[in-house]
């Protein structure tokens, strides 16, 4: 208790300095939490596109991006015929643009695709999907930002399409996307093949067998379970690494702030540390008071950071342009991890000050005014 009291007394002695340190950790935690949550949400949504009614995907081996994947149509037809496969949905991804929106995701899908079947139809119906050439279905958000509605024509890319329906999904990417019949999409993007095949197996325990079968019959293709894909997809890995690097830099800066506070705290208390030593404090006990201070700063900073992060994510959700594109729900594991990292940062920041304090010689420090 006395150690905690000493730590608290020292922090309260320089309130502004302490507040700045707490703010440093808080903003670092908030930044890391926000960036990683938004990114994980985005990745989750992208994965959700693929896992819609499916648990596996097949795509071209060794492509850096699914947009570059080229799966021949016969592969999809062959796989659909395998007894262990419940259904196989071919999907072609493409990017289209309109006058004000340079990037709109386009999904070339069949009428039986889970995305079409499971969506909430705000206008039109799943049965009408692909009935007429040049018909497209828009996600609700896409319809909003393209300022169009069902029954109207809309210019997309170099063509003009008829909006036959509008759907609402839980996925921001899909909600902001354009759905075309697969054949129309192939024509539009001048591609004969597909981007991916999403697979639903009759029995999920046959996933390994399915992967082996794909590898043996189509060596240029790879089959992955959704979770595997999310872990291994190089774009996701780059994004995750970037997010953690940005967050890590933030925490490192926060840690430097703590280090600065703690070293200043030690410098201004040299005499006091000497008094503790004269009163029988061991090196470990003296270090404990320093680490105690940094722990208080870190815990306070992490707590404030969680609140700031939650507010930031809530505000992001309110931004119309981002609505539906990012899943901003914070995961407990991420929160705990970020708090743990903040604590470790605080401890790291207090290492040098603690070592410095342990080296203070009472006899010299008592002469220090």
């Amino acid at each position: 208790m006395i150690f905690f009291r000493l730590a608290l007394v020292n922090l309260l002695r320089h309130r502004m300095r302490t507040l700045f340190s707490i703010a440093g950790i808080a903003f670092s935690v908030a930044a890391m939490l926000t960036v990683v949550t938004v990114l994980q949400g985005a990745i989750g949504m992208f994965t959700g596109i693929l896992s819609s009614g499916a648990e596996m995907i097949v795509f071209e081996r060794n492509v850096s991006d699914l947009f570059f994947s080229d799966v021949p149509l016969p592969v999809a037809k062959t796989i659909a015929g395998w007894p262990i496969v419940a259904h196989a949905d071919p999907v072609l991804f493409g990017i289209v643009s309109s006058a004000d929106h340079p990037i709109i995701t386009c999904f070339g899908v069949t009428r039986d695709d889970a995305r079409i079947r499971q969506a909430t139809w705000l206008a039109g119906s799943a049965d009408s999907f692909g009935r007429n050439q040049s018909d497209i279905v828009l996600g609700e958000r896409a319809a909003a930002f393209l300022a169009t509605s069902a029954g109207k024509d809309v210019p997309i890319g170099h063509g003009v399409f008829h909006v036959s329906g509008i759907i609402r999904t839980k996925n921001g990417f899909e909600d902001g996307g354009v759905f075309m019949p697969l054949e129309d999409a192939q024509r539009f993007f001048h591609k004969e093949g597909l981007s991916v095949i999403t697979i639903k197996l009759r029995n999920t325990s046959e996933a390994e067998m399915f992967k082996r079968q794909v590898h043996e019959q189509f060596p240029n293709m790879i089959a992955l379970e959704d979770a595997e894909f999310s872990r291994s997809y190089s774009q996701f890995r780059i994004l995750k690494a970037t997010a953690w690097a940005v967050g890590g830099c933030g925490l490192a800066l926060g840690g430097l702030g703590v280090a600065n506070t703690m070293i200043m705290s030690v410098f201004t208390r040299i005499r006091e540390i000497a008094i503790l030593r004269v009163n029988g404090f061991s090196n470990i006990q003296i270090a404990a008071t320093i680490f105690g201070e940094s722990a208080v700063v870190s815990v306070a900073g992490a707590s404030v950071g969680l609140i700031v992060g939650a507010v930031a994510l809530y505000v992001l959700k309110l931004i119309p342009a981002l609505d539906g594109y990012v899943d901003v729900s914070m995961h407990l594991s991420l929160m705990l991890l970020v708090v743990l990292l903040a604590l470790l940062t605080g401890i790291a920041g207090a290492l040098y000050p603690a070592v410095y304090a342990m080296r203070i010689r009472a006899v010299e420090a008592l002469r220090f005014e």
Binding site: L6, L12, I275, V278, S282, R361, V363, L366
Partner: protein, 228 residues
């Protein structure tokens, strides 16, 4: 200090030399000193004669450049556990009291006890006993900033005696007090040293106070010149 020997002096210092800056500044020049257990000893001499340095060496805050110091029969330069020595064998009272100003009198006094692992309940019992004997029982919850100079020094004395040390080293304990407070603190020191059975070694300029001690040791230029 399991190796303590009761027939030996409490403090034995032989051939103590202490210098700084690679010998450029000599502070102690061959001090020999023995102090019996339970004695009250005044260390007198002008500023810079080496009184504080000698106290620091005996208290284990510093090591001599040459010579041997033993407290309660154990050589300090061989002391494997100086932290234990600081906690249980020695108590310090300084001229500038050296209390932590933001803590209360009670918290300041609890520091050495809690650092030594004494249970809080036992430490509080000891504190209240000392506070009563020093007339500080109504001041235990007061912050140091709210205490007078004399009260601060009484607090420092309480703190120094918390762990029942064998030797109390007081470096000009009345140096920053007025005459009335000075003699009150001095009388308290002598009385507590006597009742607690503590050996008291006190550096002081005040020869009037020094005369009331069992022994008075005179220091000049880092040497002991006369001893009564």
């Amino acid at each position: 200090m399991s190796t303590a020997q009761h027939d030996r002096p409490m403090v034995e210092a032989h051939g103590i030399w202490k210098s700084y800056d690679d010998g450029a500044i000599a502070v102690l020049n061959g001090v020999d000193l023995e102090i019996d257990a339970g004695q009250t000893v005044a260390l007198c001499g002008p500023s810079g004669c080496g009184k504080s340095t000698l106290l620091h060496l005996i208290g284990g805050l510093d090591l001599p450049s040459q010579g041997r110091i033993a407290v309660n029969g154990v050589a300090l330069n061989r002391h494997r556990d100086m932290v234990r020595f600081m906690r249980h064998e020695v108590g310090f009272v300084f001229q500038l009291h050296n209390l932590i100003p933001d803590l209360t009198m009670e918290e300041n006094c609890l520091l050495p006890a809690l650092a030594a692992g004494v249970a809080r309940k036992d430490a509080l019992l000891r504190l209240h006993e000392l506070a009563r004997r020093t007339g500080m029982q109504d001041r235990t919850q007061h912050r140091i900033q709210k205490l007078s100079g004399g009260e601060r020094q009484r607090t420092a004395i309480c703190r120094a005696l918390m762990n029942r040390p064998r030797i109390l080293l007081a470096d000009e304990p009345t140096g920053s007090l007025d005459e009335k407070a000075s003699s009150a603190v001095f009388e308290l020191l002598i009385e507590l040293a006597d009742s607690e059975g503590v050996t008291l070694l006190m550096a002081t300029h005040d020869r009037g106070l020094a005369a009331a001690c069992d022994r008075m040791i005179e220091m000049h230029d880092g040497k002991i010149h006369e001893s009564r």
